[in-house]
């Protein structure tokens, strides 16, 4: 006689499936959904064991984060000092530091917890909201004058250091490099911008911000962040994925207590096309239920807020020069063509509208000369695409994963500086994408912004900037559309919609366990719906945030 069938009873189950949009009971077997429905229907499978632990909860399909980075787990090794509150993978509330003094005070207390010989390292600093006041080395000298203090900005492209680091790096009045900012007296003021200056400082202070240091603990931290947010499937959307890294992913994801399905994407620019294609195909064979390999990431331009995105006319609103290409357009076209021909599935980073247009051109050429059904190539970020570009994407079967969180975090900056009011309104044009018939996902790009799909959905539904401005009301999604985008929509772009993204027979028993019904709360409360944790393959994982309290 077989064991009874496990059934979770919930206040409400939102399945995201047309077959049975809502229910109260879901039956599991072998980590999969055996059935959704009334107990008497499910009992036809056999004896039921009804688990009441979620009786007052609302279950949704586990959220799918289609664009985030496992570096989210690595950055939390250091202190977060952002303006906005953010939950650490351990469930602690961090940041929310509303003045420079608050940042310094937090760093000072943190320094006391570290061994004397350790540098004090923090990340997520964003002076955008401090009325123009910048941090300098004197601020950080209040933390320590004897040990290195390094504070990485939210952009990851600027670093503030104390006098000790300046001294260790040997920077002085004669250091004439654009990225080494100076005070009025001509001395380095401790603000270092871009690779050259940051390289020298981190090297002198022996601090490694490097991605290469992804390890087991940081993957667990990443999974912790995911569980807190109700995410059961998450990408690591740019990774070299050499054999050593794949071994690490395979080892960690195989552990039963690892609460996340990982979808790493091979960074095409880390390989020659031939080698990258061979590697992507080889590792695809190593996929498991919790590790999905074979996806490929292609980079094109930079970011809008960093003024490195490639824009069409009329360019940056403040007159900044056009952004940068990561590789020459001709090489990009060749790379996209080769990966397409190899039958691989590409997610292509495009921020500016010149980049998205060029990639659409490349895909159109590839798909016209070498047609392929259901390729699901996806433009990632795709922040400035206009309606015409979305119409072409729809015609080509190209998906979009839009960076909805930008509206909140940088919307005011885009309005004032980067795009100007008119184009800022249609940044991350979620409603236009859907109206044009483009398969849609929305994302956080964690650790760039917090991993929290309900917040991402809130951004797409409300389009409020951090100052409260309503930016582009015409591009707002309905809550139903937004919830689709963080579940089945994202799963579709990953070609995993047959396995995750909805609660249906045969799919993984992956759930987000919520305190409230996101379709019943006021739309502006979507981000405030509590998350108990997740169920992955039938196993409950309580959020570290709940477990802590």
């Amino acid at each position: 006689m077989s064991a009874p069938i496990k059934v979770y009873r919930a206040r409400k189950i939102i399945t995201m499936s047309r077959n049975r949009p809502t229910a109260t009971h879901v039956a599991l077997r072998d980590g999969r959904v055996l059935g959704v429905g009334e107990p008497e229907e499910l009992a036809r499978w056999g004896e039921l064991e009804i688990d009441e632990r979620f009786a007052d909860k609302v279950l949704m399909p586990g959220f799918v984060e289609g664009h985030a980075h496992a570096m989210e787990g690595a950055v939390w090794r250091d202190l977060y000092v952002g303006y906005f509150v953010r939950r650490s993978p351990d469930g602690e509330m961090e940041g929310g530091l509303k003045s420079l003094d608050a940042v310094v005070e937090r760093l000072r207390r943190y320094a006391e917890t570290l061994p004397e010989d350790k540098p004090v390292v923090a990340w997520g600093f964003d002076p955008l909201y401090f009325d123009g006041r910048r941090m300098d080395r004197h601020d950080l000298d209040k933390v320590s004058t004897t040990r290195p203090v390094l504070v990485l900005h939210a952009s990851f492209h600027i670093l503030n250091v104390n006098s000790r680091v300046i001294e260790m790096a040997g920077m002085g009045p004669s250091t004439n490099v654009e990225g080494v900012m100076k005070d009025p007296a001509g001395e380095p003021n401790g603000e270092l911008q871009e690779m050259a200056a940051m390289f020298a400082a981190t090297r002198a202070a022996k601090v490694d911000f490097d991605l290469r240091t992804l390890d087991g603990p940081s993957l667990y931290r990443y999974a912790g962040s995911a569980t807190i947010a109700g995410v059961t499937t998450a990408t690591d959307l740019h990774n070299k994925l050499d054999d050593e890294m794949v071994d690490l992913f395979a080892e960690v994801t195989a552990k039963e207590d690892f609460p996340l399905r990982l979808v790493p994407a091979l960074g095409a620019l880390s390989w020659s096309p031939d080698d990258g294609i061979a590697q992507a195909k080889a590792i695809r064979e190593r996929s498991t239920d919790k590790l999905r390999l074979g996806l490929v990431k292609v980079m094109t331009d930079g970011s809008i807020q960093g003024f490195t995105g490639r824009l069409k006319w009329p360019g940056y609103h403040n007159g900044a020069p056009n952004g940068i290409w990561n590789i020459a357009p001709s090489e990009l076209k060749r790379t996209i063509g080769l990966y397409h021909d190899a039958g691989l599935h590409m997610h292509i980073h495009t921020n500016g509208d010149q980049a998205s247009e060029f990639v659409i051109d490349c895909l159109e050429e590839a798909l016209t000369t070498r047609p392929r059904r259901d390729h699901r190539h996806t433009l990632q970020h795709c922040q400035m695409a206009d309606a015409a570009q979305f119409r072409r994407m729809a015609a080509l079967g190209v998906c979009a994963n839009l960076f909805a969180n930008h509206v909140f975090y940088w919307g005011d900056q885009h309005y004032a500086l980067t795009m100007g009011p008119d184009r800022a309104r249609r940044m991350d044009a979620t409603a236009t994408a859907l109206a044009c018939g483009v398969p849609l996902a929305i994302h956080s790009d964690a650790p760039v912004t917090p991993l929290a799909p309900l917040f991402t959905a809130w951004c797409a539904v409300n389009r409020r900037t951090s100052s409260g401005r309503l930016l582009g009301p015409e591009e707002r999604l309905t809550p139903e559309q937004a919830l689709f985008a963080i579940t089945l929509g994202a799963a579709y772009t990953l070609k995993l919609d047959h396995l995750v993204g909805s609660i249906e027979v045969g799919k993984f028993a992956d759930f987000a366990v919520l305190d409230d019904d996101p379709l019943a709360v006021a739309p502006d409360m979507l981000k405030d719906v509590g998350v108990w944790g997740t169920v992955l393959g039938g196993i409950p994982f309580e959020s570290p945030a709940r477990a802590a309290s």
């Binding site: 790096a169 040997g170 920077m171 250091t175 004439n176 490099v177 654009e178 990225g179 080494v180 871009e194 690779m195 050259a196 200056a197 390289f199 020298a200 090297r203 002198a204 490097d210 290469r212 070299k240 620019l269 880390s270 390989w271 020659s272 031939d274 080698d275 490639r310 020069p321 056009n322 940068i324 290409w325 990561n326 590789i327 020459a328 357009p329 001709s330 090489e331 010149q354 060029f358």
Partner: protein
């Protein structure tokens, strides 16, 4: 096995320019040439094409050559590749970085200006003389191409064997419109005289002052006399790359006023690329070694030179006549005439 200065800053040369301009040709030549143990950082590892006989070992991201050079992939980023080189048990004698076809080589060069274990030697940007004017018309690309030239120390109008005069002149005019002080030299197959790449080699031997001496020719230069501002190679021998550069030798027995000398260095013409040699200053027993590249210079104590001043310079074809250049430095000499 020489490690001349295991702790001093490593000189860094950055090679930039768009695809097809000749960067890899230059890199491959330097790798094959040996003489200086380079660590060469490249984006396109696959394009590295050195004689198989030279290869000692090879894996996915490194090629070790018999001549001591090592070639490293930057596929994981410049920072990682650079850190690997600096942390290697056997440091190279110099670093050569081949920028990607769309990178601004100056942005890369800045790391050598700020990282204390590095010293910037030279930023060279190559241009496909035949196609540049057409390439800058491309709305996807034009601004990128101009940006990567704007701050280079030396721009090579390369592939002159394939470019007509008019397209080369158009390219030159376009470059000068963006960067009026650009040092532009015309080359074929990115062929450069050794003193342009590695610096001129002034002779420390005592000379008869007052007589302008010729610099010692660089090691792979034709062994004929490089009289200043001329290129009188034997007939029938292709010396086109020699036409592209002019040289200047300054020899004087007098000691300079240091302040005057430093001021004079600031007034040297932009067509001068390098100036190297020894000098003496009033009231200072020590000898000093000047290494001047494209306006960046260091003066280091060095008593291995002559008693007076002996400097050797190399510049583009636009370098003024020696007399004019001499006058710029002579202004820094004290009023009393030499012996």
């Amino acid at each position: 096995m020489s490690t001349p200065d295991a702790t001093g800053p490593l000189p860094v040369t950055v090679i930039g320019g768009f695809l097809g301009a000749g960067k890899t040709t230059l890199v491959n030549r330097l790798l094959a040439r040996g003489g200086r143990r380079y660590a060469v950082l490249v984006n396109d590892f696959g394009a590295i094409n050195v004689d198989a006989k030279l290869v000692q070992s090879r894996d996915g991201s490194k090629i070790q050559l018999e001549n001591g050079c090592i070639c490293c992939s930057m596929a994981d980023g410049l920072s990682l590749a650079l850190a690997d080189v600096l942390d290697a048990s056997r440091r190279p004698e110099a670093i050569l970085i081949e920028a990607s076809g769309v990178a601004d080589p100056w942005k890369i060069a800045e790391v050598a200006l700020v990282e204390r274990s590095l010293r910037l030697e030279l930023v060279v940007a190559l241009v496909d003389a035949a196609n540049f004017a057409r390439q800058v018309e491309d709305p996807l690309l034009g601004d990128t191409l101009v940006r990567q030239l704007s701050r280079a120390d030396l721009i090579l109008l390369n592939k002159m064997d394939q470019a007509g005069r008019s397209s080369a002149d158009r390219a030159r005019a376009l470059i000068l419109a963006e960067a009026p002080d650009a040092r532009i030299a015309e080359t074929v197959a990115a062929e450069l005289p050794a003193d342009v790449l590695f610096g001129p080699t002034p002779s420390p031997e005592r000379r008869e002052y007052g007589v302008t001496a010729s610099p010692r020719p660089g090691e792979h230069l034709p062994q004929h006399d490089h009289a200043e501002n001329t290129s009188q190679g034997p007939a029938g021998h292709d010396h086109r790359h020699e036409d592209a550069f002019r040289r200047w030798t300054f020899v004087s027995p007098t000691a300079f006023s240091r302040a005057g000398f430093e001021a004079a260095l600031g007034g040297l013409p932009s067509s001068l690329l390098r100036l190297k040699g020894w000098c003496r200053f009033e009231g200072d027993e020590a000898g000093w070694l000047l290494q001047w590249v494209a306006g960046r210079w260091t003066l280091d104590r060095d008593d291995s030179g002559p008693v007076g001043t002996a400097l050797v310079g190399v510049g583009t074809a636009a370098l003024p006549a020696s007399g004019e250049l001499d006058a710029l430095l002579a202004a820094a000499a004290p009023r009393t005439p030499g012996p």
